[in-house]
């Protein structure tokens, strides 16, 4: 993430352009990038040189341009940041979509990941609060001031945990992230991601094992597999193989 910040504005734009082009076509060429960003081809070549030095892209002269793994992660971050900011300006502040898009382009480069994380948490909270949500935003759009709420909001709001559900949630905990099968009985964890076969993922979701959910490993079966966990106030058993697909952050 620090790398993303260290890039200059224009390099960020290039990276994002390559990312978007790569999603649309198989092979990205210098000409296409130039057209997309709206600059001449030599400028693109120069920028690509820098990006290549930083290990973000692979580029053969006159050949195809491709993002490296680091490049892709960085570009994804940029893309989400841009998107989230636009959404904030458009949906929460109620700006006209075109204006929101334009201003997001201008502001985005200055935002640190932490600021963005909080911004996203705010959006999430506004949309989730059972007392607020769409109605609240509508009222706000009319009056731009707080509307009085008849009920005990303090109790409600304090009870709502602001979930870490934002583009960086998965990455934030990565340093000490592990998988559920590695937690020993008595340990608690918070779900970061679900992997594995679609059928198992879907079942896990239905059973309430979703990112942000907290769980505790209760015990292993007498033969060492499956394991029993407690999640959302009830007990669930699953095989270690299935638990291995669940990334958790130990608490």
């Amino acid at each position: 993430m620090t790398e993303a910040i260290a890039l200059s504005e224009s390099l960020e734009d290039y990276l994002e352009a390559i990312y978007q082009l790569q999603r649309a076509t198989d092979a990205v060429r210098v000409k296409e990038i130039a057209d997309f960003v709206g600059v001449k081809m030599p400028s693109v070549t120069a920028a690509l040189g820098t990006l290549k030095e930083r290990g973000l892209v692979v580029h053969e002269r006159y050949g195809e341009v491709a993002l490296t793994e680091t490049g892709r992660t960085t570009a994804e971050f940029l893309h989400r940041r841009h998107y989230a900011l636009t959404a904030f300006l458009r949906d929460i502040l109620g700006l006209d979509p075109a204006q929101a898009e334009e201003e997001a382009c201008g502001v985005e480069h200055a935002l640190s990941p932490e600021t963005l994380r909080r911004l996203l948490a705010l959006i999430d909270f506004l949309e989730r609060c059972p007392r607020g949500g769409d109605d609240w935003l509508e009222h706000m759009a009319h009056r731009w001031e707080d509307i009085p709420c008849a009920r005990d909001c303090a109790a409600c709001i304090s009870a709502i945990e602001v979930p870490d559900r934002n583009p960086f949630a998965a990455r934030k905990g990565t340093e000490n992230a592990t998988t559920l099968d590695r937690l020993s009985p008595g340990m608690r964890g918070k779900v970061l991601r679900l992997g594995g076969e679609p059928q198992i993922r879907r079942r896990l979701m239905d059973m309430g094992v979703t990112p942000g959910a907290e769980l505790e490993v209760e015990r292993l079966a007498p033969l060492g597999d499956p394991i029993e966990i407690e999640v959302r106030g009830y007990h669930l058993s699953l095989r270690k193989r299935e638990a291995a697909g669940i990334a958790v952050e130990p608490l």
């Binding site: 999603r23 079966a221 106030g233 009830y234 058993s237």
Partner: protein, 695 residues
């Protein structure tokens, strides 16, 4: 009785669908509403069970359909598809969603999906007493407001709140009151839901029954059924789906998770919000008894011993306690046969009625005590919550052979009797697991095969080794079951392993009413669905063993009368095929007769050796006759025991397998594979033994 019974048959004023998570007490609510006025069938075209019942309430005839217990309404399992399709296609007037108040969060997940579907829903907040005992009190009025659907508290096991539930359900159905709120998925998801819903409407989709919004959400969840629906029914469906795929990819890139996960997360968010407001927990947490019991029952040291103890207890209950009533039934039918014989003149009619029909009915009913006791045991294990612990404890073992922990019970019961064992596969959720278990369960050597082993081992092996010989046959059955389960799971029943993501519900006291109803229902199910076919088959086998009879004075060249019958002729025809196994036509006749039931093998052998059937003198005489027969040797006897172990155990078990598997093709497959395997194994033993000089 008469007026209420009429309610089940008369056209209903209101159709209620009963939905809910497994373990939420749905069956208890169903029983509390309908009492004994219920019947069990299948949903058309699938083997998922459909229970229906009736009730007259306040002058309104209510017809209740019990939907399969599900956690969600995705196309994840057959049960979910059935529940969903019933609600969409049959359009019940109201859905009663039974929710476990002590496990509110996860239970409400299904509720959110009914809300999405836009059907009139009433939430039955069951087991509020349990929730309260755990220090949680629920403001039902507030919960109702936050969810946008009526919420009625109840304790179904004591029939509390059921009247109010029915009153609200009738009212909701009459007014056609649909949920007043929607789950909000947040701007990002919402904008795409709206976009796709618009496209669906433009393409001519979306009705009151199947709202476009619901379809859009399901498409974002990549729901196979809805995708197929769109592809087939909507114009330009392919384009629409292509658009959906792009949106999904886009969402994945901006959310960092796939759309399904984001949607599930939002639903839980909606529930969290509602629960945070409407549920208050007391500060002190009372003792969690389930937790304490589990600390012993599933512990590393005691888990397996307790499991074995309970399984042993169940086996004893079913087969030891079941034996006396079985004996009474046999005696009663024997007595009835003698009585009828005395009334009728000797001849074909007497034989048909006594041996064919009375014998056949007796052969059907004789299993009833065992089936009732088995389902008494299963019902106690399931309702108490131990069943899922049993699966938890042995899953690792069963997992190795490609099966689910719950497959253990049918396989264990198979050692007693294959008929209830196959019925016990109903506890398995996955169809593949169920079929695999059904196909290998007959290899567990049932009690009826034991007399054959005893006879043959007694005749050809020294008393000291006879027991070990019999044990080796049992062991071979288990090994073959393991091998075949693996073979089936990797060939005809190949598919992803069933996830073991399974709830371990809190321990509960089973209710007498629920247990008895369950027992009765299973026994009746067996008599009605399998009994008639078994009876017909028994009569056919009787005919084969009796006709045609040799005209008086025919020279039978020393062969017994039975050789002249169809079965006898089949025995002769079979001889070339079973010659490589060391068997002759007499064995052929016995094996043919043994298709009816394994006990018959012994009596048929007696008949073919022209020995009277009386049991006391019969067995030693047959043993002697077998020893005298030059074709028999210890090796042939062992090959025959193996053949008897593997080939179809009896007509009743095969009919039950056909009924439970839902297709005659599985019956045909089971019969053919067991016969082929029996032939192969006997061939290997006999020919191998001869090569090694045991001949």
């Amino acid at each position: 009785m008469t007026t209420e019974a009429a309610a089940t048959t008369a056209p209903a004023d209101i159709v209620v669908a009963l939905a809910g998570n497994p373990n939420a007490g749905k069956t208890t609510v169903f029983n509390a509403i309908t009492g004994a006025h219920q019947h069990v069938g299948n949903y058309p075209g699938v083997t998922v069970e459909k229970k229906e019942g009736g009730r007259r309430f306040d002058g309104v005839a209510i017809h209740v359909v019990d939907l399969p217990g599900t956690y969600s309404l995705t196309a994840y399992s057959l049960e979910e598809v059935v529940a969903r399709n019933y609600v969409i296609e049959e359009r019940p007037d109201v859905v009663i969603d039974v929710v476990d108040a002590s496990n509110l969060e996860r239970n409400l997940y299904l509720t959110t999906q009914f809300i999405e579907l836009g059907v009139p829903v009433v939430v039955c907040l069951n087991m509020v007493d349990v929730a309260e005992s755990r220090g949680r009190s629920i403001d039902t009025e507030l919960l109702s407001e936050l969810l946008g659907v009526p919420v009625v508290p109840a304790v179904a096991s004591r029939a509390e709140g059921i009247e109010e539930l029915l009153r609200v359900a009738v009212e909701t159905a009459r007014e056609g009151r649909v949920p007043q709120r929607q789950v909000r998925y947040g701007r990002e998801l919402e904008s795409h839901i709206v976009e796709i819903a618009d496209l669906i409407v433009q393409a001519g989709g979306g009705t009151r029954e199947v709202p476009a919004r619901w379809m859009a959400i399901k498409l974002l969840e990549d729901d196979d059924e809805v995708r197929r629906e769109v592809e087939e029914a909507l114009e330009d469906g392919d384009n629409l789906l292509a658009r959906v795929d792009r949106v999904r990819a886009h969402l994945e890139s901006v959310i960092g998770d796939d759309a399904e996960l984001a949607l599930a997360d939002r639903r839980y968010g909606f529930i969290n919000g509602a629960c945070a407001e409407a549920v208050s927990s007391s500060a002190e947490t009372p003792v969690d008894w389930s937790e304490r019991i589990d600390a012993v029952v599933t512990s590393r040291i005691l888990g397996i011993p307790i499991f074995l103890l309970l399984m042993g207890g169940m086996f004893e209950l079913v087969f030891r306690l079941g034996a006396p009533p079985m004996g009474w039934l046999e005696t009663a039918f024997g007595w009835l046969g003698t009585y009828v014989s005395a009334l009728l003149p000797d001849g074909p009619l007497q034989s048909l009625i006594v041996d064919g029909i009375i014998g056949g009915v007796g052969g059907v009913l004789v299993f009833v005590p065992q089936i009732m006791l088995l389902f008494l045991a299963i019902s106690l294990l399931e309702d108490s919550g131990y069943m899922s612990r049993a699966a938890f404890v042995v899953d690792k073992l069963m997992h190795h052979i490609g099966l689910h922990g719950k497959s253990f019970i049918p396989m264990l019961i198979g050692f007693g009797c294959t008929v209830p064992a196959i019925m016990a596969t109903r506890t398995l959720e996955s169809r593949r697991d169920r079929l695999t278990t059904m196909l290998v369960t007959p290899l567990m050597s049932c009690g009826a095969r034991l007399p054959v082993y005893v006879l043959l081992a007694g005749a050809f092996f020294a008393p000291q080794v006879a027991g070990k010989v019999i044990f080796s046959v049992y062991l071979l059955g288990v090994l073959l079951a393991i091998v075949m389960a693996r073979v089936f799971r990797s060939t005809i029943l190949r598919g992803p392993l069933t996830p073991f993501v399974m709830e371990l519900p809190p321990y509960r006291m089973p209710t007498l009413k629920g247990t008895l109803l369950h027992m009765w229902e299973r026994a009746w199910c067996y008599v009605k669905k399998a009994g008639t076919v078994i009876l017909a088959a028994s009569v056919i086998i009787w005919a084969l063993l009796t006709y045609p009879q040799p005209p008086a004075g025919t020279d039978l060249a020393g062969e017994p009368e039975i050789a002249y019958t169809v079965a006898g002729r089949i025995g002769h025809i079979l001889e070339p095929a079973i010659r490589p196994l060391g068997f002759d036509w007499k064995v052929g006749i016995s094996l043919t007769a043994g298709l009816a039931a394994k006990e018959i093998v012994v009596s048929t052998l007696a008949t073919t050796y022209s020995i009277g059937e009386s049991e006391e003198s019969g067995a030693p005489a047959v043993r002697e006759a077998l020893r005298q027969d030059p074709i028999f040797s210890p090796l042939v006897a062992y090959a025959l025991m193996i053949f008897v172990l593997i080939y179809p155990p009896c007509i009743a078990s095969m009919v039950v397998l056909w009924r439970e598997a839902g297709s005659w093709k599985w019956l045909a497959f089971a019969v053919l594979y067991t016969i082929a395997l029996a032939w192969l194994m006997s061939f290997i033993v006999y020919q191998g033994g001869r090569l090694l000089g045991f001949g």
